[in-house]
Amino acid sequence: MNHPASRVVPRAAAAAATTILLQISGAAFVYAILSAEEGWQVVALLGLLGFGFYLLERLPWINDVVVALLARVPVVTTATAAVIVLGFPFLVGSNTYILHLLIVAQLYAVLALALNFQLGSANIPNFATGASYGIGAYVSALLAVNFNVSFWLTLPVAALAATLFGFVIGIPCMRTRDTYLALVTIAFAVVVHQLLNNFEWTGGPNGLVGIPAPTLFGHSFADPIEVFGWTLPSQANFYYLAAAVVIIAVITARRLHESHIGLAWNALRADEMAAKAQGINVAWYKVLAFAVDAFLAAFAGTIYAFYVSYISPDNFTFLVSVTIMTMVIVGGMDNIFGVIVGAFLLTILPEKLRAFSDYRLLIFGVIVIGFLMIRPEGLFPQRLRHYGVER
């Protein structure tokens, strides 16, 4: 078949220039929508976004060309992305609200990438990502509050605890499928939430307070960052921390996706019986998806706990899982970039709908249903893998 990307074979210099331009305009758009205050600005920017998606829908080759361009000059792409991510807080300056939104969006991006292993790659409906997130947050917070354990040590412990939980949920899921499997994960989510709500040592419904800020080489994350004469608010610490975890999540997701493990997940998504007939241990791969999901979700949970310094069971309800799930579906299942876009969009959009703050949930629900009916494959549908020269 004539692969559309092969129609365009750009020269490296042109590709590099376009790549940089594309990424900068993307960042500029994110900045514009984050700092938009007036209702009409938000509406105009959303209109622009909608038009962009409409163009992508009508002219799908744009997507292929962009992917080919970015892949043509990988070093430039990565370097530009790094500069943008590092430099963004300087652009934002002292606006802590924007930084807060970015931190939350990045944490959701990690959660959505985590869930994508199951929902996107393997089509396992997991409603317990919120619970793994909560377990990560609670384990690290309990260690820090009660035993003064350093943040950097609680991070792996929390991840391990959540992974163990992932295995525990995964085991009953080996025998169940679809709706039944969904109910098992819902049941686990409710049980975890109820236990957190009832145990005395988790603080019951009041949760845990006074989680100390992490320190790194003597620098407390509660203090502002001062570099080259610039002063960034203390939120910038967590912004960079969250960005680091997003990068870890993206690398994990890419490596798994581009391996026989990602292929095995895709195979069992398409046809479980046929996957078994290729020698794939379907049960083990399902459990593995749960474990990876829980591992990454715990990272997000730990950072969240130390960032807000106060957690309660209501941060980790069933509805949090549904939100994460929606991000994956809206962004595009099994598409790493799409999932991140979904997380950012669905974190920022409700905040920008403040004008209708009381109707936010209602609008959210309507958007989700509309999306599932009109564009169930998401904004950025999954792509076929290409090997060798094609990349």
Partner: protein
């Protein structure tokens, strides 16, 4: 007894229905066995019992000297049994090439930790798999290689069959089970299929093949070992000419032919 596959007194019941009734047969390395019989006779059930999809109600299945009765499917496949399905079950939203690479799953040795922390090792392994898969697609009689980046679900019927066989071969099996490989093929395509199987046997003299077939021209091409199943019972076995002449076989076929008419 050093048979590659030994099916001994296998019975499979679903509730009151007896799908397989005390079936016994043996198969040598490098041979072809054609299984014929009317629809619903239990031929596919036999494949499902051999590949561990169903656990037989009674009897044993031995493969390569090991008892594989009731072993999980993926274990059976790992030991060298590959199969295709009657209603070709491809991974429809994966590319043709990826379907074959998934077929090599049992050959992949990189674990999760390798994939995450030694990406170079995993990438090299995958690159080798891509090369092998492309080679397999080139060998196929259909235009599969040219279509390797198409979603498998969009292939034409005959190409789907060919891809399923290529995918099954990717695991380098000792025994391959083909469930009605000629279904949905025209005469020319069926001839090409027969040629494919013959070429396969020439390339891999050790490979054994079990065919479920309705198209007698395919069965005729591999006449040494044929068995006929009807109502779950093995009613005739031997060379094609003998089986065809068997009155029970004729009755089974004529019976259904009359019923179909």
């Amino acid at each position: 007894m050093s048979a590659l596959l030994a099916v001994e007194n296998v019975t499979m019941r679903f509730g009151g229905l007896v799908a397989l009734d005390n079936i016994t047969f043996f198969m040598e390395k490098g041979s072809v066995l054609a299984v014929i019989g009317p629809n619903g006779a239990g031929k596919s059930t036999l494949f499902n019992v051999v590949t561990g999809v169903y656990r037989p109600t009674a009897g044993r299945v031995k493969f390569d000297g090991v008892d594989i009765t009731g072993m999980p499917t993926h274990e059976v496949v790992r030991r060298g049994v590959a199969r295709t399905f009657q209603s070709s079950r491809l991974f429809r939203d994966l590319s043709v090439l990826d379907n074959v690479i998934v077929g090599m799953h049992t050959r992949a040795s990189a674990g999760v930790l390798d994939v995450l922390f030694r990406p170079a090792v995993a990438r090299r392994e995958l690159a080798t798999a891509v090369e092998k898969a492309e080679a397999l697609l080139r060998e196929s009689s259909g235009p599969l290689y040219e279509q390797r980046y198409r979603p498998a679900g969009t292939l034409a019927q005959a190409d789907r069959r060919r891809l399923e066989i290529a995918r099954a071969l990717a695991s380098q099996p000792k025994l391959i089970l083909l469930d009605e490989p000629s279904a949905g093929m025209d005469d020319a395509e069926t001839d090409a299929l027969v040629a494919d199987i013959e070429r396969l046997r020439a390339q891999h003299p050790e490979l054994s093949v079990i065919l479920i077939e309705h198209d007698m021209r395919v069965v005729e091409a591999f006449p040494e070992h044929v068995m006929c199943i009807d109502y779950g019972r093995l009613i005739a076995g031997g060379r094609f000419e003998a089986v065809r002449a068997n009155p029970h076989v004729q009755e089974a076929y004529l019976g259904t032919a009359a019923a179909d008419a």
